[in-house]
Symmetry: C2
Subunit: 476 residues, 2 copies
């Protein structure tokens, strides 16, 4: 009797990492086809005529999340456009709860704006996928779906290692007017130990980075009133205070000679950069001339003692966004104007208290104005800063997940802007982390928005690695 | 034979002064009726539909001047609306030549603006004559006609004691756009030793004054350019220069802590007030609260070491007439704006050279702007300052003529504004004097413009006294 041997099988050791890769390999084509379907929906939140498309986008995503396996998927109504909420409990006692934030609405786009392709007909050119929303933010939301399935495949789990929640809003590109109310309303269901924002990016195509914080923001309008109406500068000029001069004097006094913000108390509580952060920032391949081209500016200028990156990421600033008063038509009109106005905004960093800062600004304005100039200061909505220290275990997990995906050292950035994600930090009392693989060349809010397909793949991998690492490393 | 005696005639000694008065008494009713006729012509230079009325006003005045006795009366065409020129040689060898300046056009007016009477239907209420142009400037031009006749009656002359010229323009209320070209074209025929401007006024109803000068003016627009387009203040703010901040810094730097103009070289050559002038200014009954009400302002503010009157009359100033840049709509827009703009005007006093001042401003702007902010400075038209010293014999004549008319001490003012009269000074090389009896309550450019009839009478008298005194006291 001859024993027949079956075909020789070379069985490689299946590490979780290799499973992640092979799982993604296997499903990538379908993943990209699905993403393209989603990108075809022109979910432009700023266009009232496309409110139905934003709703269709929410429904499409909800269906996809159900297909991904989320047991709870809901389209949440707001006073504006709908958000999508999904939840998949871990089942493990003591597992941390992570909330992923992103948005499914997109900026307006039309081929006539100068696109090389139809913005709502996703087009693959080489290793890039061109479409409105490819990077901001559908692509970066979507990598979580395949990432999560790869995580399950690699760990053999039937539910994620963390309690996973997703909140994908539909009005981010319109300034998130209803987001604060939504998360306050749903705070209990959104309760999380950690917030992961997938709506940012990394340094560039070859430099994986993790963002550690965003600046906050407050803005105000200062209205200054002098003469009851415009008066003749020949008859009265030089003998009464001029509100346009006062506006200028205020705006000029915002900064001292070192271009530090000169409002007393402004820097109270500011969390200073650590030496380690400065060293890591300095490792980023920064080309100031290239950066200036991005800033469409001719020269760098800012707070003495800090690099350009430190200035925009880690230092609070004051900016004149608008100024107006008096005669602005052709020729001349020799008046002392009755009014002048300033729009100022302030970027805040961790440790600054926006309400205290507002009081400091009010006091500074009142103290500086001369007799005869009346004024009002009106503040707009506040966005708080957020910052996660380098040694935070969830940040370390994120860095490891990115490091596994990219196979190289992960550096750090911060975000100079301010986003609704900080609301989540405030309402949920949870630190905010950032997981994003978009790059500056992706053309957010511009023509020819795209995503780099190899980076999108890294995003899927990082998402696949993250949850297991987090469950092991982080205890709420 | 009985000699019948004729009726007893009490013959008072007829001094020239009493002849002036009795002549005016006799002709005042006709004079006022004639003025009313002229005031009925709505010679609004700003209204293209009333160009014909401005022409009719010129023709009316020309006819009246012929009737007054001027041997030469011409309507002078310009590229805009016509002026009236008249000339009456003295016949005396060595007599000085005086040119009277005024204007026959008026500001727009309609009863619907809030007038109590029809603005072009002169209405006498008590001792006031209400009509558009009553004080600015038809009344003050017209007092010269009766004044001149009274001068001839009182001196028994058939021609004035001075070579008298009149130039009454038709576009003063529209900014005298063609006046400079006109007087350059006609400089030979306008040649004069002295210019008398009858288009100003005096301190108030009970304080006769003579104006000794007007400030000059130059204006400029400064355009500042930063980023090639508005950029995001979160991504770039605090790291590149902001043109709105630069505009504010320039405007704020215009004045030092003493509110002196801080442009280096600005005060070069300034003719300082004499102690005598300061003493005389201080004798004027000045009520700062009332002045502030006129200025529609809450507080006085200006160059340290000078009174309010000194500041507006005798000191050069810098004023921000307009400023704009960045976002000026509702709410906030967090940008670093691409551009910002300033409209500045500078009042100049005697001794300042406008062209040198322009160079000083240009250098100051260029020197102060940071790297990365491009700029342009564009200057508008220049008006030179004029000033006649207190001891100038023609000014002394003017003061005596006013003193005779009013029977009280004559004080001095200056004019803070700037007028086309200064062009006459420059083109003709003649000092400018001012003979006016309008008062601040006359409502120039406003509703219910009027002239006080007793002051108008004093104007006639002053004009009647002036030419004889001048011929005696002033030698070219």
């Amino acid at each position: 009797m001859i024993h027949k041997r079956g075909p020789k099988v070379v069985r490689m050791t299946k590490t979780p990492d290799s499973v992640v890769r092979s799982y993604i390999d296997e499903h990538e084509a379908q993943f990209l086809a699905d993403l393209a379907d989603w990108l075809r929906i022109p979910s432009v939140s700023a266009d009232p005529e496309r409110a139905g498309e934003v709703r269709r986008s929410a429904e499409w995503l909800a269906a996809k999340l159900r297909a991904t396996g989320f047991p709870v998927v809901e389209v949440w109504e707001t006073d504006g456009l709908p958000a999508v909420f999904a939840e998949w409990p871990s089942g493990d006692a003591g597992a941390p709860t992570a909330l992923v934030y992103g948005h499914h609405d997109v900026q307006p786009a039309a081929k006539a704006d100068g696109w090389d392709t139809e913005p709502f007909e996703p087009t693959r050119v080489g290793g890039r996928l061109y479409a409105r929303g490819a990077a901001d933010d559908k692509g970066q939301v979507f990598f979580h779906t395949l990432g999560l399935r790869a995580h399950l495949a690699a760990t053999g789990r039937t539910a994620p290692a963390v309690n996973l929640k997703l909140l994908i809003e539909g009005e981010e590109e319109s300034g998130s007017p209803n987001f604060g109310a939504l998360i306050r309303r749903e705070a209990e269901r959104l309760a999380a130990d950690l917030v992961f924002v997938s709506d940012t990016g990394m340094w560039n195509e070859t430099t994986p980075t993790v963002c550690t914080g965003m600046r906050g923001k407050l803005d105000c309008q200062i209205d200054l009133f002098g003469p009851a109406s415009d008066i003749h500068s020949g008859s009265f000029g030089g003998a009464v205070p001029n509100p346009a001069t006062s506006a200028a004097e205020l705006a000029a006094a915002l900064h001292d000679e070192d271009r530090r913000v000169a409002v007393p108390g402004f820097y109270d509580g500011v969390v200073e950069l650590t030496e380690r952060e400065r060293e890591l920032f300095a490792k980023l391949p920064f080309d100031e001339q290239r950066w200036l081209a991005t800033a469409k500016s001719q020269a760098a200028q800012g707070e003495a003692g800090y690099s350009t990156l430190e200035r925009i990421w880690a230092r609070p600033t004051a900016e004149v966004n608008g100024v107006w008063g008096g005669y602005t038509g052709p020729g001349s009109k020799t008046i002392v104007p009755a009014e002048a106005h300033l729009k100022l905004s302030f970027r805040l960093v961790a440790g600054q208290d926006p309400e205290r800062t507002e009081r400091a600004i009010e006091a500074w304005v009142a103290e500086r104005l001369p007799a005869g100039i009346r004024h009002t200061v009106r503040f707009g909505s506040v966005t708080r800063p957020c910052l996660t220290p380098l040694d935070h275990p969830a940040l370390q997990s994120t860095v490891r997940a990115m490091g596994k995906a990219f196979g190289q050292e992960v550096l750090f950035t911060r975000e100079g802007g301010s986003g609704p994600a900080a609301d989540l930090q405030d309402v949920l009392g949870a630190p905010v982390l950032f997981l994003g693989i978009s790059v500056p060349s992706d053309g957010w809010h511009s023509v020819n928005e795209k995503i780099e397909l190899d980076l999108l793949r890294k995003g899927v991998e990082a998402a696949a690695h993250l949850w297991g690492d987090l469950a092991e490393s982080y205890r709420p």
